[in-house]
Symmetry: C2
């Protein structure tokens, strides 16, 4: 325990300053202060010693040099055990507490200040005080954050105005992290002056997982120091169930990313990091079933997300209260901005399910983010893929599609296909009530024809098991869209589509074989649109 | 331009110090120096002013306080334009050049020093000098790196001992980055004292790409400040061709990652971030063909990598010198640690191909790395998946497999399957000459049965096109392994395997349906091994 007799206060952020000032003053701690801080204290009738009385030097050069002084820094830095006599000889009295925060460099940066203003906001003296006090945390307490004053007051009250080692260590660590963040901001800003970009990312441990992608891999989740509340994927409130696993987290991420592009109410189902079900409608109670029907086998063991407040009615398709447990759908986690009490009650029939409520703004914000991908020794940073299409241009003789009526539908399909790993093919269905649904997909194929075969086979199987027979399936295929995330390199894909009764194909175009592909469509009476926008996802 | 009349030198790293000291001294620059630096200069007959003569204070507290002084920091920080009179009044003479580097905190950390020793190595004075000089770069030049002295000497010689604004700006940026790196090291070390992990990653712009994963996405490659030479994916030497695209980079990464696990000579072909071909052998000239045969359609437009010095003989399968251009294989990039001149000459028949030579140690080092995956507001960090299996346990009545002879073969298959996106199935073949080859795969399926169907269909097609007929295919299937990266949830997969004559299956096991799966194997005379190790990759 270290008694606090003398404190140095030099703060840029004067929030709560009178509170801590009053407390220290009332408890007979001598306060040393600098210009602005001193004026503020004076205004609140808190007396303090002017730092210039100790340094013997004036505050100079517009405040650039005030704390940068031999006596002040010695009073912070000297080793209380070994350097005691030397300090006495030099007439240095120890400073036991440093309260200091910095010129607002980041705010200056964010407000697009001039270079001169930016430079003025590079704090030298403050950082030196804080780094010195943190270095000597065995004896000195350093506090930066006005939010910490009230906690500090309680601690000091409880300990007869002494700081404990734990307290000093806690604040030392906070201080060094603050300093590192501050210097990182400066470094990246200054690097821009060379028209070069740099990137400094800082993270703290958020949770250690039981294991990673596989049981023999250790894994840790980190949260960005700069992430605002609600913007971190794991900022959801967990309403029920165990923690998410590594793979659950990936699936949740995929589901929310997919939902973020929808304009109406929707539901997304993800398994193995692939959105295997997606639906959109103005009528919400059918959404889960529509999404599930996109791949009823893969949906078992999935993560499901909604972009609206979920009621019980929206969930009954899960049969969680079915007497026959075999009818209950197996789901790993369900996420939504909110759940009604009835919905929660219903879901909790399943003891093992995780129920997650995420911030409403989350879906809006992830659209704006850049995408970072780590590679050995570096990373790739790119804009998120927010675009849907450049154009919608019919390139075939046949044109079934009434674009004015179908644009929303096409956008739904493009949104779905851009979330599936390349090569990716999606088949989407437009119900008469205005709902959209993915009914088949082929994903992750190095060969495009395989992706088409997979999508058609799945859609065919899904529809056959739901509808009254092959005739009906053909009708639905005729009204559905087959969407490819990239161009067709050969007409073989079209031949396969024609064979199964696909009537409308959407693709970016851009292959040297485009004409052969179009010719094949014309031969089979297929309508084809070019979007001009590729959607690779690897 | 700013004339350099007075320099302050205070360095921990004394490399090349006599060179810059001599130069400054001979050019009539007054040198101010501190303890160790002064002794070093003295030994080399370079005279300098003791800093204590200027500060009027002794070097105190075991060197903790020597440069931290009003006069010294004023001499660095004052605004030469606006504060000139104030400085004169205070008797402060400007310091025009600061040469300073820091206590070796990182080295202390790496040598597992005690906490006391770590704290001793937190530099306060040095950082203050450098940050102050960098802040005032309009007038002051700051240099940290002994490697920069020779360049500095040339610059000053050419400019009559003046520093240019560009020079000062360049070094200011370098200094602030150095400071940020230094403070980041301290922050992460100190955070560990709380048994908490933190992560600070810093990157600088390496290359701006023409575009990202898709043409409408902007993308930048960043290199880690701390990456050692040869350890960054893009540290390869480009021997021929244009820059890699974003997607080429992903494919190259996948190919090298896959090769990193091989123990013999091997070749990997990647398309759409999926390793669609992989081969291993002691005889290298067949490797490319063996890999290519794993998926001859997808291999078009791929990235190919080898883990050995490549000769022309290893490449002739590409037919790059074929008179009929239609016979020439289309490949985006070829990478290897080295190429013979003959190989290079041969490859350059193809004007568009990129030829890349990567560091020999690259493949060894990536195995040791952690894997980082960014998520909104944070990241997931996990150990790389380096493991192959926990056990090799036969679980069926039938046991064709002579493990003693086949272990290398099984390891090859496991290595291949762990690089393919889940759900993943691989079929591998063991040639009589001892080569191993992937002959079919199913990847990225949310449904395992689909992955099996894809793998078997592809293998069947590949073998039929190569061999003399169905009989031969059946023989090959009997001697091949089908490997699943995760357990089979239902016996339907086994039924499908049996139908196509698969005789040996390797899988981790662990499903509640394991017994049904084993029963199905027993029914069909299939040999099944459990490895106990799952290899999900999402």
């Amino acid at each position: 325990m270290r008694k606090i007799k003398k404190a140095l206060i030099s703060v840029s952020d004067k929030n709560n300053l009178q509170i801590i000032g009053n407390f220290l003053s009332q408890n007979k701690v001598e306060i040393i202060s600098t210009g602005g801080t001193q004026n503020f204290l004076k205004k609140h009738n808190i007396s303090s010693t002017d730092i210039t009385k100790i340094t013997g030097n004036p505050e100079s050069f517009g405040g650039r040099v005030k704390t940068l002084d031999f006596k002040i820094l010695s009073a912070i830095l000297f080793d209380r055990e070994n350097d005691y006599l030397e300090a006495e000889k030099l007439n240095i009295e120890p400073i036991d507490l440093v309260i200091c925060n910095f010129y607002p460099f980041k705010q200056a940066k964010q407000s697009n200040s001039s270079l001169d203003n930016l430079i003025d906001n590079i704090d030298i003296g403050g950082l030196t005080l804080v780094r010195a006090a943190a270095k000597n945390f065995k004896d000195v307490l350093v506090v930066n954050d006005p939010e910490d004053y009230s906690e500090l007051i309680i601690e000091l009250k409880n300990n007869k105005m002494c700081s404990s080692e734990n307290l000093r260590k806690y604040h030392m660590i906070k201080a060094f992290n603050l300093v590192a963040n501050y210097d990182s901001e400066i470094a990246t800003s200054m690097t821009q002056l060379q028209n070069k970009k740099s990137l400094r990312l800082s993270f703290y441990e958020y949770e250690t997982l039981r294991y990673g992608e596989n049981p023999h891999q250790k894994a840790v989740i980190y949260r960005d120091f700069n992430a605002s509340k609600g913007s971190f994927l794991l900022d959801y409130e967990k309403l029920h169930g165990r923690s998410l696993s590594y793979n659950n987290i990936l699936d949740l991420n995929g589901a929310l990313e997919t939902l973020s592009g929808l304009s109406r109410k929707g539901c997304c189902i993800v398994k193995h990091n692939t959105p295997c079900g997606l639906s959109e409608s103005t009528e919400k109670s059918m959404l889960l079933q529509l999404a599930w029907e996109g791949d009823p086998i893969s949906s078992f063991g999935s993560v499901i997300a909604f972009n609206f407040t979920v009621d019980k009615q929206d969930l009954v398709f899960l049969h969680f209260d079915d007497f026959d447990k075999a009818n209950r759908k197996f789901v790993e986690a369900i996420a939504a901005p909110n759940f009604t009490n009835e919905a929660l009650h219903y879901l909790k029939n399943n003891k093992n399910i995780r129920i997650l409520s995420f911030d409403h703004n989350y879906l809006i914000n992830i659209l704006k983010k850049s995408e970072i991908r780590f590679i050995p020794g570096g990373l790739l940073l790119q804009n998120s893929n927010n675009k849907k299409f450049e154009k919608l241009e019919c390139v075939t003789q046949e044109n079934h599609l009434n674009i004015a009526q179908k644009q929303e539908f096409i956008e739904f399909g493009l949104l779905a296909v851009r979330q599936v790993r390349s090569n990716a093919i999606i088949i989407v269905r437009h119900h008469q009530d205005g709902s959209f649904q993915v009914i088949g997909q082929g994903s992750g194929q190095p060969n495009r024809l395989n992706a088409i075969k997979l999508a058609i086979e799945l859609a065919y199987k899904n529809l056959t098991s739901q509808s009254d027979g092959k005739q009906n399936v053909n009708n639905i295929f005729e009204e559905s869209l087959l969407i490819s995330e990239a161009f067709f390199p050969f007409p073989d894909s079209i031949e396969h589509c024609a064979q199964f009764g696909i009537k409308t194909i959407i693709q970016p175009g851009g292959s040297i074989q485009d004409q052969k592909v179009i010719d094949s469509c014309n031969k089979h009476g297929i309508t084809m649109y070019f979007t001009g926008t590729r959607h690779f996802k690897h």
